[in-house]
Symmetry: C2
Subunit: 332 residues, 2 copies
């Protein structure tokens, strides 16, 4: 295993120390592994909290800051944060207007966030709502999921709901915006190579040199099928077709997000963007906003995913609103 680590089991803790040192505008609770925006809790604002297993950076800690998340709980690599972390963070982002949990649909995450929400509500009366992302059209159930997996829509949702919270919208409205994003987004991913979990020390799965996995999950969960390596334009079709088959994206402005899985160069991602945008154009989908880069990754996996969001004027304005985080920043 070739990685920049000391003891694999300490990777997450030490990366959080680096994050805290590099970004003094954040506040890191190292004991609970929670990354807060420096001024949390923000009085009168809905607290937006997410988290999940590590290994998908910049998601989620890289999206903490004004205009996006108030805090993120970091679990071990590919492992849900425990309820205690989520309880602590929920209290820590409570500015008096309630808290929204953003949870990717994996069994452990959903269970632990639910448990934490109940504990906090019972102890403090704080209102906690949750939105669970499940935008991955690849598979109905998977290794760690009942239903669809939550993937790229999570990035778009955290940005858009974060802007809604920053504007001072009430909890029910922020939750409605978040649910609208999840309900209007679809994703599909693929892998050229496996990732390697540091504590495991070897690739999660075997993928021959002449094959790729279509419909891969962000933890290396199996996709729809193994197929022979193909040119980028065929790969783009394999990703776009099931996305468009699942939702009618015509008639509304779309946000197109071409995501890198971690080890795929930007040059290839922009080439994929060209292929995907061309296919969407042929299908009558109008792309109004774009995001290209590694934003929800799977450690050192090579590959990409495509997320399309069917937006409207409100969602686009929230997308455009200022954001200031380590991983996504503009206008601030």
């Amino acid at each position: 295993m070739k990685k920049l680590v000391n003891h694999p089991a300490d990777l997450v803790s030490q990366a959080l120390r680096g994050l805290a040192a590099a970004h003094p505008e954040l506040r890191v609770d190292h004991e609970h592994r929670i990354v807060y925006r420096g001024d949390a809790p923000v009085r009168g604002k809905v607290g937006l909290l997410s988290g999940g297993g590590s290994g998908h950076e910049p998601l989620h800690a890289g999206f903490v800051g004004p205009g996006m998340l108030d805090a993120a709980c970091a679990g071990e690599v590919f492992t849900s944060p425990v309820p205690d972390q989520v309880v602590e963070a929920t209290r820590g982002v409570d500015g008096g207007a309630g808290v929204l949990h953003v949870v990717k649909n994996y069994t452990g995450d959903v269970m632990n966030f639910e448990m934490a929400a109940e504990l906090v509500a019972a102890e403090t009366g704080l209102e906690v709502l949750a939105v669970v992302t499940d935008d991955d059209v690849a598979v109905q159930d998977s290794t760690w999921t009942a239903g669809r997996r939550g993937v790229g829509a999570t990035v778009l949702l955290e940005k858009i709901a974060g802007a809604a919270a920053e504007q001072g919208r009430p909890l029910a409205e922020v939750a409605a915006v978040a649910r609208k994003v999840n309900g209007s987004a679809r994703s599909m991913g693929m892998a050229l190579t496996s990732c390697t979990v540091p504590t495991a020390g070897r690739p999660t799965f075997d993928l021959p040199d002449d094959e790729m996995e279509i419909g891969i999950g962000i933890h290396g969960e199996p996709g729809r099928r193994r197929v022979p390596l193909a040119p980028a334009h065929e790969i783009a079709e394999m990703l776009v077709e099931p996305v468009l088959a699942d939702l009618d994206f015509t008639g509304s402005p779309a946000v197109l997000f071409v995501n890198g899985m971690g080890a795929t160069p930007l040059l290839e991602l922009y080439l994929m963007y060209d292929e995907v945008a061309t296919l969407l154009g042929k299908a009558g989908v109008t792309v109004a906003r774009s995001l290209v880069g590694p934003y929800i990754t799977s450690l050192d996996m090579a590959g990409c995913s495509v997320t399309v969001l069917k937006a409207d004027d409100d969602l686009l304005a929230l997308w455009d609103a200022p954001v200031r985080t380590a991983g996504l920043r503009w206008g601030a």
Copy 2:
């Protein structure tokens, strides 16, 4: 070779089409492979132009926009742009206040930018100055370089000189700021794996599973030495020691840039940041600003580099100034 490509020889052209589609605020001359900020040339402003071989994205095209470069010329992968491209781009960014070329110190780049500058000056009388970056302390001469190689300082220089140009400073002053950044920055990199050039189809060099290369160049040029794989804290020492030995960084605020070579996850880069910042602290160096991520890459190479810039109040203010590019953006 596992890559998201169609025909390897078309990768750069097609990636530029994707870049143009994803970033309508840029203007791309596909014939000459030049990426311009949409409003270039900006009247009365020094034109800042860079470029080089592709494969280092987001450098340089990802740094085109207000507050940074006016344009970037894209060569083939790891191949200098030709003089014709640079001539065309130099004219294209001429706003009447002269043009500054930012050139990484590789023989082909230096020669082609020089030739273009002479051609333009002879034909039009336009004043063109150049700054050549050579911040890599690893080796004195290398595969494609006489003298030191230009690496991470180029990113910091393009940001800082870009801000100086945006403020309306005259050509001589923008060039002086650029030279100050290059003269005050030192870098050192390492590789865990080779990169694979798409048209070659196989790794540029062989690196056994239990070895790494210290002092690697961004095209896979040999470094100082092959050594056995080591924990991150030892790698950090191997990178920081030669940087600190080359320049006294105490007594001034420093900018610390921990760069990913392309395939190394952010989690590992933040861990490296923690190690490097700790070493700098022990050496009495005060880090005032930080940048962590893959900003000057080597295709799909795994590894990292460290750049330290000895700054001052002017350079820090220019660093903090608004920038709006595909690869680096804040305050705008």
